[in-house]
Symmetry: C2
């Protein structure tokens, strides 16, 4: 069974700095119409920086939508005309100060495909060399290094609550177990 939802009408509601909102009227397989509220996002990269002593470099920052500081793997929006790998190297340096000698592409996924097209390109960064972070003007970030086994426990305890970070930790665990 393969089907698509044909767009009958598309209405722009908002065009912003980070995201746009539009409403599509679609035709369903039974020929009835339905509405889809869609958040357009330019896409992003996330990086799992794994150190030689089995730790992950994380960043802690305040996230206004959830009114909380979250512990996350470094990440950032794709800029226009920027390859995901370039974004990954840039964001890793900006947010954590680390430079990676081996930036491996893992896979990509959608964070919330029910209402958004945000695509996350995931990279594994090893061969890390420490340096100074250079955050953007509206970013206030703390860099934290945590052992992978402790991170697995933190997921179970609900202390890591960001989807890309949970995926990244599981991938780091897999990488280390196969090394």
């Amino acid at each position: 069974m393969i089907y698509e939802e044909k767009t009958m009408k598309s209405e722009k509601i908002y065009e912003g700095k980070i995201l746009n909102l539009r409403i599509d009227t679609v035709e369903l397989p039974d020929k009835k119409y339905s509405k889809r509220e869609i958040v357009e996002h330019p896409g992003a990269v996330a990086i799992v920086p794994v150190t030689d002593d089995n730790c992950i470099i994380l960043v802690k920052q305040f996230r206004k939508p959830v009114e909380k500081s979250l512990l996350e793997i470094p990440a950032g929006k794709l800029e226009i005309n920027e390859e995901p790998r370039e974004t990954a190297n840039r964001e890793l340096k900006e947010e954590t100060g680390y430079v990676s000698n081996k930036m491996e592409y893992l896979f990509e996924f959608f964070t919330s495909p029910g209402f958004s097209n945000e695509k996350m390109h995931l990279f594994l960064a090893t061969g890390l060399v420490e340096g100074d972070a250079v955050p953007e003007s509206d970013e206030f970030i703390e860099v934290i290094k945590v052992n992978i086994d402790d991170l697995m426990k933190m997921i179970d305890r609900g202390e890591i609550v960001d989807s890309k970070t949970i995926v990244g930790i599981f991938m780091a665990k897999k990488y280390l177990s196969e090394k």
Copy 2:
């Protein structure tokens, strides 16, 4: 270092069926102002249904935001006055037809905390009994049963591209390895 972004102004842009959009003007730690585009979402549950023969029950459905049919674990929005566990039992039955004798709460996470407050409550469903699905009127869903080891390979090959589903598969793998 703990800080918050204080809301100086909040502007409603859109109030919809599934989501709202608002723009907050916030004060940063250095007293400068910045804008945050925020998608409000009621929250959702996702269920990892694990069978006695080490398979996961997945659903395939067209996702308009990404213009593709995706293979996902069953999931659904929280309804008003509904406990997440109730939603989990309801959505599992509606989307797959299965009923679970053991619906275990795992943890909760944010799908995209950079721009949305969508919170996903994750459950592990075992003791499954097969039955008939009862999808909602605008849902067209195919139910697919896949072995957990095949799913791990599908993640590596980029064939599973939904964040909650990747998290769910890793949790199922962990559950089965500890059983």
